[in-house]
Amino acid sequence: MNIASSRERGARKPVESWYLVTNQLNLLYMLAAGLVMEPSGFRGKHYVDTLATIPGWVPLFRNTIPAKAFEQVVSERKHLRPCVVLLDLSGISGSVQVLSREGKIRDSNFSSVRLGKGDIAILIQAPLPLTLFSRICFVADEDRKAFEVAAKDVSNVDLRPYRIEVNDSLQCNANDAVWPPVQIVRSRSRNTRQKEASSSQGDLLEAAEDALQVSKPLLNRQISAQALGGLLAMLYHCANRSKLGVDIFKLTTGSSEKTGENFIQDPILAELPSWLNTGEVSEQSNTPARLYWGAMNALVVAQEQNSSQPVNLILEYLDSQLTQLTDEKYKSRLDRLITDMRGFFGLDGGTITELFERNKGSLSRPLLLFCLRERCNDLLEFAHPLLTEAEHLLAGLLFGVRDGWMRLPREMRNQNLSAYVMYRMASAAHQKQEDGLSIPNMARPQPLRAFFPSEIDTWQTSQTLAAMEISKHSKWRDCIETSISSADGSLLDQPRSQNQTFIFVGEATAKLRVRHEAFFDRIGKWPPIDADLEFRVKKDLSSTVNAEANEA
């Protein structure tokens, strides 16, 4: 993956490649999911491959690959094509297992792993982030084409970050080792022992992570990796709409300079840090907050199990709460909300304004939006004068958790965000498994809005120029205004108009200014600005804003 520059590595060593052998369709699924996963992560669509050999463990070959592995990965269906992904594991630390030709497993630590002549692979705990991918190889050009064509048929696979090659030597040089191993001496049941052995190492890693970051990213251990990925992506994209959104995203990614969470006025949104840390709301939370996060927990379970219609699941949860509520005020509000949620797709729903007028507050409106809009990008496009930013963010959290990273379309996966989300998803999974595997950190992405403070008097020249560039490139005429004044300060006469030009008598100077309110409004809208432009602007601002501040 072309993100090596954003990877925070230690001292550079020669890159060693490890081979993951799979087929083109499993690879496409993993590219969408952002993770190399065990078969259960494929939710019923896993084609037999090397990942199925010891569920939970990713076999990575070194030097040569067993010919039988190539046969295995295309064994299920006629149209499968073998492919080999080369992984660069530098920066990984933790326990691995070494697999011998005879199917024997011995423990090792990744940093000291040595493969002997009789060893064919290491087994590393799934999942792994795709940020470890260095190349994708096919043994025939026809296979590569089949893969690339199949990728174009789907909405959630972006091949641009990956190096894709044809290399028939991988198959030509295949060895005759037995694969899959006839007898596996030990498998995943060892996890608990391994957890204990690696716990002290885990503490050290956490300490190192703390030192690296302003604050620690929040993690709810109940939430699945996919749901976390979806949540982070939605917070990232929603953040462009408001300062609050930027602050919440920073808080969630551990890059917030704010020490407490007091900047969050909305009582439901204020529970986000607590929920992300513990899966529960704080003791002082109010009834709507408990209902919202309870509904969210129901959604987390649904996402994990892929078991039921999300709206129905939330309705079931709210129904169960209705009977327990004793406060008549909340009870009648919840009753009305449930009725309106049930009627959203029926004939007696009314308009959105009517629904928002009937159901006020940051519990009701996010839940109504959850019914009223289908996809994450539908929500990002949605605006209504009655909807507050906190309510939109809370709706975004619901959508993100429901869809997970997997369902997000290409346009919601920019490279920096993808790399960070993959790292967070993999890290979260390993923390949950308590297996001690550590994944190299990825740089935290910043939403575009984060580069343009709401306090416009603090803007530096580079920010104004960047806002101008974005507005011109995006053809946002309403974001720029031109003031014209006489060079000597005297009053200008009325101009005359000629060929779409205003002509002033005397010497005048023109000055361009950003119309900040319109600019903030525009960058908060979906779809986002051109990806290349955004990347360039962020890069320039990252390097200049601090420098200008120091000069000032």
Partner: protein
């Protein structure tokens, strides 16, 4: 600012395609392929994705469908980045025949001159056999995709073979035959294309409808073993149980009130296309007039309203949300976000339960996310006997 009513036709996510669909998509571009599946199993999507591949590879391809509406709908589904080479099968065949033989398609004369003149396939077959190899209009560089292939007669397939066409990709559903005596069975197509039964790929998973809609469609499944019954769809982002509303009677909403509610529904979901499927032209016109005259409170103004009648020249726009009022005969193969089946008690034929059930099966499966049934206060016993009693399948609203 006016609301954006553009409909999105997103490609499926990798997780949305099941293993059979993967296989259907991975079939080689050349050769003969038959894909069978019920409504909503993604047959048309698979055919369109294949057309995209052919277009991307600059192949000489054409996708044929059964009617103009489906043709328009497919063009929208294909997306705007490239143009779809598609046509209705009859119009295309008539033009091809004329260009090859310099005369009209032969028909069988009827005593009544004004009566429908069926195509004389025997005469076409005779004429086709006179073509020399160098006169054949097709060769192995041509690729033909047929959507709703069951609605084309068996002789159509054999004629195309006679004309030198070798590369076929047919998607079909025997449970959706319009006129069984003039359509092709699975066996007919397999025979005509020399496809082994074992090589015919069956799509079973419902891809289009939400689970509640698919459950209602299952209820009306007419059970022809030649096309597998679609499996229920998996988790979908949002779903609601289909509703049955009775209007026009004492204590019931008036037609005008129901129409107001439909307009408000369209207002809530501006980019969704709501299809009102009527049993005949009288009901279609009645609903058109009622929509025209209704002015409920709306956030975004009145949505675009379109209708279609046979012979209409203006193509319908499937690219924007709004309301489309069409007859049941025209709805096959189309996809709406929400399908409203108007005046359900007036559908025919009442004497043929199988055909009536098939019609409901096809109509219900048009609704991707929601289906609403409307009836007046005068229910028909035959139709009532077809409706589910289980409120998990159909909620009877008052």
């Amino acid at each position: 600012m006016p609301v954006d009513r553009s409909r999105r036709f997103d490609l499926p996510g990798i997780q949305d395609l099941n293993k059979d669909q993967d296989e259907a998509l991975a079939r080689p571009l050349d050769g003969q392929h038959l894909i069978i599946g019920g409504p909503g199993t993604g047959k048309s999507v698979v055919a369109l994705l294949r057309a995209r591949r052919l277009a991307a590879e600059d192949k000489n391809y054409l996708i044929l469908v059964y009617n103009h509406l489906l043709n328009g709908s497919n063009r929208k589904l294909f997306g705007s980045t490239q143009s779809l080479d598609s046509n209705t099968w009859e119009g295309w065949f008539w033009r091809m025949y004329r260009s090859i033989f310099n005369r009209s398609v032969p028909t069988i004369q009827q005593e009544n001159q004004k009566a429908f003149q069926p195509v004389d396939w025997d005469a076409i077959s005779e004429a086709s056999k006179t073509l020399n190899d160098n006169e054949l209009p097709f060769n192995d560089s041509h690729f033909l995709l047929l959507d709703e292939g069951q609605d084309m007669p068996p002789q159509f397939y054999s004629t195309l073979k006679d004309w030198g066409l070798e590369n076929f990709y047919v998607v079909a559903d025997q449970n959706q035959q319009l006129q069984p005596d003039k359509c092709s069975s699975r066996q007919d197509i397999e025979n005509a294309l020399a496809v082994n039964t074992a090589d015919t790929l069956e799509l079973k998973a419902n891809y289009r409808n939400t689970r509640p809609v698919a459950q209602l469609a299952h209820h009306f499944y007419p059970a022809n073993p030649a096309s597998p019954r679609p499996d229920l769809p998996a988790l979908a982002p949002s779903a609601s149980t289909p509703e049955l509303w009775t209007y026009g009677g004492p204590g019931q909403p008036s037609l005008n009130e129901v129409i107001g509610q439909i307009l408000q529904m369209s207002d809530r979901f501006p980019s969704k296309l709501i299809g009102i499927i009527t049993p005949d032209n009288v009901v279609r016109k009645m609903f058109c007039d009622a929509v025209d005259g209704s002015n409920p409170r709306l956030d975004n103004g009145k949505p675009p309203v379109q209708t279609f009648e046979s012979g209409q020249g203006t193509p319908l726009d499937f690219g924007s949300g709004g309301i489309m009022i069409i007859n049941a005969q025209s709805c096959k193969g189309l996809e709406f976000d929400i399908a409203i089946l108007a005046n359900i008690d007036q559908h025919q034929p009442k004497w043929d339960i199988y055909a009536l059930k098939s019609r409901f099966y096809v109509m219900v499966a048009r609704g991707r996310e929601q289906v609403i049934l409307l009836r007046t206060g005068d229910p028909c016993k035959v139709v009532e006997s077809l409706l589910p009693i289980d409120s998990n399948l159909l909620v009877r609203k008052k």
